[in-house]
């Protein structure tokens, strides 16, 4: 009896569901959400449970099931990267300004352009944000509900995928930085509410990481 016929009556056994998730994730280069998995699988399946089994099965293997934001994907184990020299993709070299801007967006998101400039002490140059947008490592977030309603930037799932992060909460050193108050949006002493300070009353990325 094929799975398809079976699905007309009952959800397939969990071992079978695990095989399905395995096949679907293997076939796709981009991470897939549970919702996407469920849509693909026969009615009544529980991709979350199947995925839990699958992850365990691949622990310590040459490929692993990794979480990327809200989605899942197979990736090779990082310790075997040296075997894959042929598959290495030459990344466009990012300028120092672009890397710093990216880090600031990741650690302070959602963050406005004015805030990035305040942290770096220089104007964000034309093209820097453009480049990061084009690489799909950052995107526009919600506008700030402050005068001028500036747009904000946040990092994308593509960013998480590239740097092997499960979520923005797993950014290296995030906890220490937060504990040290270095992610606070601290206004300059005695500053009036001016154009640059308009965002100071909004919640910073701490809100993002409070579960």
């Amino acid at each position: 009896m094929s799975e398809r016929e079976q699905s007309l009556f009952d959800a397939p056994p969990i071992a079978e569901q695990e095989r399905m998730v395995e096949a679907i994730l293997f076939a796709s280069t981009e991470p897939m959400t549970l919702a996407e998995l469920e849509r693909r699988m026969p009615h009544g399946c529980d991709p979350a449970e199947a995925l839990a089994y699958l992850r365990r099965r691949y622990e310590g293997r040459g490929v692993r099931v990794v979480r990327v934001g809200e989605a899942w994907a197979f990736r090779t184990a990082p310790d075997l990267g040296y075997l894959m020299q042929k598959e290495v993709i030459e990344n466009r070299k990012l300028s120092r300004a672009a890397i710093e801007t990216l880090a600031i967006i990741a650690y302070h998101q959602p963050v406005t352009r004015a805030e990035i400039e305040e942290i770096r002490g220089v104007a964000v140059s034309r093209g820097t944000v453009d480049q990061l947008l084009e690489m799909e490592w950052i995107r526009f977030g919600r506008r700030r509900m402050t005068p001028g309603r500036p747009v904000t930037f946040v990092v994308t799932e593509g960013f998480l995928d590239h740097f092997g992060l499960e979520s923005a909460r797993d950014l290296p050193g995030l906890k220490d930085l937060r504990a040290a108050g270095l992610l606070d949006n601290r206004p300059a002493p005695g500053s009036l509410v001016t154009k640059d300070d308009e965002d100071e009353d909004t919640t910073g990325q701490s809100e993002l990481f409070e579960e």
Partner: protein
């Protein structure tokens, strides 16, 4: 904050430190703004950024700016603004606090600067840690052959937000940057004046001041008035050349008058 080390600093500066300072000068293009420069200077203090001597830092910074000037290196305005602000901060730090002053204390300002430096430094380190992570396509890899069994072919059109924005920017800039066409706000062209005068000249039976021929509202603002006057003056010269109009002016700077030529009247 009453750190006075900087006073002897000049004398005590070792050769290597001087060389380092020299390198800073030569390298001024390598700095991304005043804050970046301050951060580099602060490293020579070899202390926790929280405990950095802002006074000493201000002194180092101003020395840098002075030497840049000496070497005739063009410094961007931001560097000079920062220098001015640091000079102000330095004076505030050195003087006893003024009780009537309601603004933030010099210590608060200094502490904020230290915070900014520490935060910038922290972001630099965070960026470095981020880049040190395993990266997709370098350390770990995706499936090389994504499998697609051709059964139901479905075409999905995609576009990224950036494409959308670029398209919109393209359309909008096409309007904004029409080649050779300025937005002629408050500008009356000779062509416009010529057009106007041609249709109105029929009414100019007798001498009348050119000013009375200005379009409505165009004598309101000085710039508009100048522009429309110039345009109409050029237009009537052109029309006079073609014999469509007669011009006279009593004396220099007197009102210019025009009328339609009348063959019956003969020349004056």
């Amino acid at each position: 904050m009453a750190d006075r080390d900087w006073i002897d600093d000049q004398k005590d500066q070792s050769v290597s430190e001087r060389l380092a300072a020299e390198a800073l000068i030569v390298d001024v293009d390598g700095f991304e703004g005043p804050l970046d420069l301050l951060l580099s200077l602060s490293r020579s203090q070899k202390v926790d950024l929280r405990r950095i001597s802002v006074l000493q830092l201000a002194e180092q910074y101003m020395r840098f700016v002075d030497r840049a000037k000496l070497l005739r290196i063009e410094l961007a305005a931001d560097y000079l603004v920062m220098a001015a602000w640091l000079a102000y901060l330095k004076s505030r730090l050195l003087l006893p606090p003024d009780p009537s002053d309601e603004g933030p204390s010099a210590e608060d300002l200094a502490a904020h600067l230290a915070f900014q430096l520490e935060r910038l430094q922290a972001m630099r380190e965070a960026a470095a840690r981020l880049l040190a992570r395993d990266q997709r396509g370098r350390d770990f890899f995706v499936r090389g052959q994504s499998e697609q069994i051709v059964k139901a072919r479905k075409v999905v059109y995609s576009a990224a937000l950036i494409d959308l924005m670029r398209a919109y920017a393209r359309i909008r800039t096409r309007d904004e940057f029409r080649p050779f066409v300025m937005d002629r706000h408050d500008v009356f062209t000779m062509e416009q004046a010529l057009e106007r005068m041609r249709s109105l000249i029929g009414y100019a039976g007798d001498w009348s001041d050119l000013e009375s021929w200005m379009p409505e509202g165009w004598d309101a603002a000085p710039m508009r008035k100048r522009s429309s006057m110039a345009a109409h003056f050029a237009a009537i010269l052109e029309m006079a050349k073609r014999g469509q109009i007669e011009i006279r002016q009593g004396e220099t700077f007197a009102p210019i008058q025009i009328r339609r030529p009348d063959p019956a009247r003969g020349a004056e």
